[in-house]
Amino acid sequence: MRQLENLYRQIIMDHYKKPRNKGLLDDARYKKEHIKNPSCGDDVTIQTFVEDGIVKDIRHDGTGCSICCSSASVLSTRLKNLPVTEALKISENYINMITNKPYDETIELEDAQAYEGIKDFPARTKCATIAWKAFENTVK
């Protein structure tokens, strides 16, 4: 049984095939961040609308592998409507999990937990974190 099977689980494939919150808006209230991974061509843009310290909306667009594209969708569902501080804490925790650093397992990652298997594919950690890093830059 390949570890890749662990990774490409229902959740990831679901978000890859049917991305949520996809497509950018032409709305000045949104802050936009574009990140590219030139070595593989992953290309993600995250748009965030923050009001009163709350992440009111997250949009995303881009091209790339299934891990990269799906993770943008997953983060948009997980972090929407959270206070910025909490969203950042979850993001930090997620990135730590992916990059094999200590992380707080009590923080509920929900669908984002599905990416845990990336640990076994260190060459792919960038794919799984690029959207989250873009998100962080939109609210920092």
Partner: protein
């Protein structure tokens, strides 16, 4: 040729089931090359040229003998063989030292979409700085450069022809000799990127009659940190150096200095000594096997792989007519980055991406591809593992819903 017998020459292939299919990026390193560099570091790890004691004399002799080995290997002379940091650096030297000073507004530079970034970006810079124009050879539908298409863009404005010998994505060989003859008839100068040809087939710069030609050590069983620029003597004589300093001059005054002749005027500072010696050892290794044997072997493996791939559904091969051991393909609907992890899990090392050739990706109209490239250390078992994995990957990605 029995490639299994060569596998043992490569430490990275010992005690492992690794199938290495990324030679077009970097080849593996044979023991003889590692040993030769160790000999330098263990017995005479000193500077060249400037010392007059025994150790330094030995280092100098080995370093210059390496240059002779390499010169002779490509049919050049000692003076025509310049050591650089790599092919990219060598190709840049041509653009900076020749292009920036010899081209002007209205001149045309013929290039192609098959070029590696290292052979197109330096000339974009020349075009911007001098006002010369980049002219792209139209490619055939299959993506080839042909003599006919070259004729369509060649004109009396053509001052420079900048083409790859073998494409690192399509594996096509450019009909470079005919092109050079035509270019010279127009008085144009030709720069050839031989990074993907010199490691795989005999290249004779005099027969080819190119004006400049470049390649790297690390793609031909040699070390990192070294490349070679060949240039015709009279052209190198006329070029101004682009780096200045120790060892490239013979007389230094406060406000002026006099430079040495080629090749030294292009090699300031302490050269890549271990690397030059290592590259010469790599050439010796490859020659001991013979380039005809290597080329035939790669070709055989490539044909076998292509035959098998063509029978599979849901696989697109972009270069079924490849002339070399390079196969570029995709699993339909599967991003190559997803695919490559599947292969990696079975310890098959293969490239996924744009291969520093984004213009080829645009031509193929894909964001990225998989690329498998074969070399002497691959064998039929590797091809079989590769094909089995393509099948399994195809089934897996279909099943999970791609």
């Amino acid at each position: 040729m029995d490639a299994t017998s060569f596998k043992k020459d490569f430490p990275a292939l010992r005690n492992t089931d690794l199938v290495y299919l990324d030679t077009a990026a970097s080849s593996l390193t044979p023991t003889s090359v590692i040993k030769q560099m160790n000999e330098y570091y263990e017995h005479y790890p000193v500077n060249v040229h400037r010392g007059v004691y025994k150790l330094s004399f030995r280092a100098t002799e080995m370093y210059e003998a390496a240059r002779n080995t390499i010169a002779e290997f490509i049919g050049a002379t000692f003076e025509e063989t310049v050591f650089t940091r790599g092919a990219s650096s060598a190709l840049n030297l041509v653009a900076s030292a020749y292009g920036l000073t010899n081209l002007k507004e209205g001149d045309e530079i013929i290039v192609s979409e098959l070029e590696h970034h290292s052979h197109i970006l330096p000339w974009q810079n020349v075009a911007k700085k001098t006002g010369a124009k980049l002219i792209y050879v139209p490619l055939t539908p299959a993506g080839r450069i042909t003599v006919d298409n070259f004729k369509h863009v060649l004109s009396d404005k053509t001052k420079m022809v900048v083409l790859t010998h073998v494409s690192n994505v399509m594996g096509y060989e450019t009909p470079i000799e005919n092109i050079i003859t035509l270019a010279h008839a127009q008085g144009a100068i030709v720069s050839v990127d031989a990074a993907q040809s010199v490691p795989h087939k005999p290249v004779d710069v005099k027969k080819m009659d190119c004006d400049f030609l470049a390649f790297s050590g690390h793609k031909m069983c040699g070390p990192t940190g070294i490349g070679v620029l060949y240039g015709k003597k009279h052209l190198l004589d006329d070029l101004e150096p682009i780096e200045f300093g120790g060892d490239m001059n013979d007389n230094v005054e406060k406000y002026d200095a006099h430079f040495k002749d080629t090749p030294y005027k292009f090699e300031t500072g302490t050269p890549p000594i271990a690397e030059a010696i290592g590259l010469a050892a790599a050439i010796k290794y490859l020659r001991s096997i013979g380039f005809e044997t290597i080329y035939a072997h790669e070709n055989h493996l490539k044909e076998k792989a292509l035959d098998a791939l063509e029978k599979l559904e849901g696989i697109t091969v972009y270069n079924p007519g490849t002339d070399t051991g390079i196969i570029t393909f995709n699993l339909d609907g599967v991003h190559p980055h997803d695919a490559v992890s599947f292969f990696d899990e079975d310890n098959i090392a293969m490239r996924a991406g744009h291969h520093c050739a984004q213009l080829v990706m645009r031509f193929l109209d894909v964001p990225a591809t998989l690329r498998a490239s074969f070399y002497l250390y691959n064998d039929e078992a590797d091809v079989n593992r590769f094909i089995e994995n393509v099948k399994a990957a195809r089934a897996f990605f279909t099943e999970v819903g791609f």
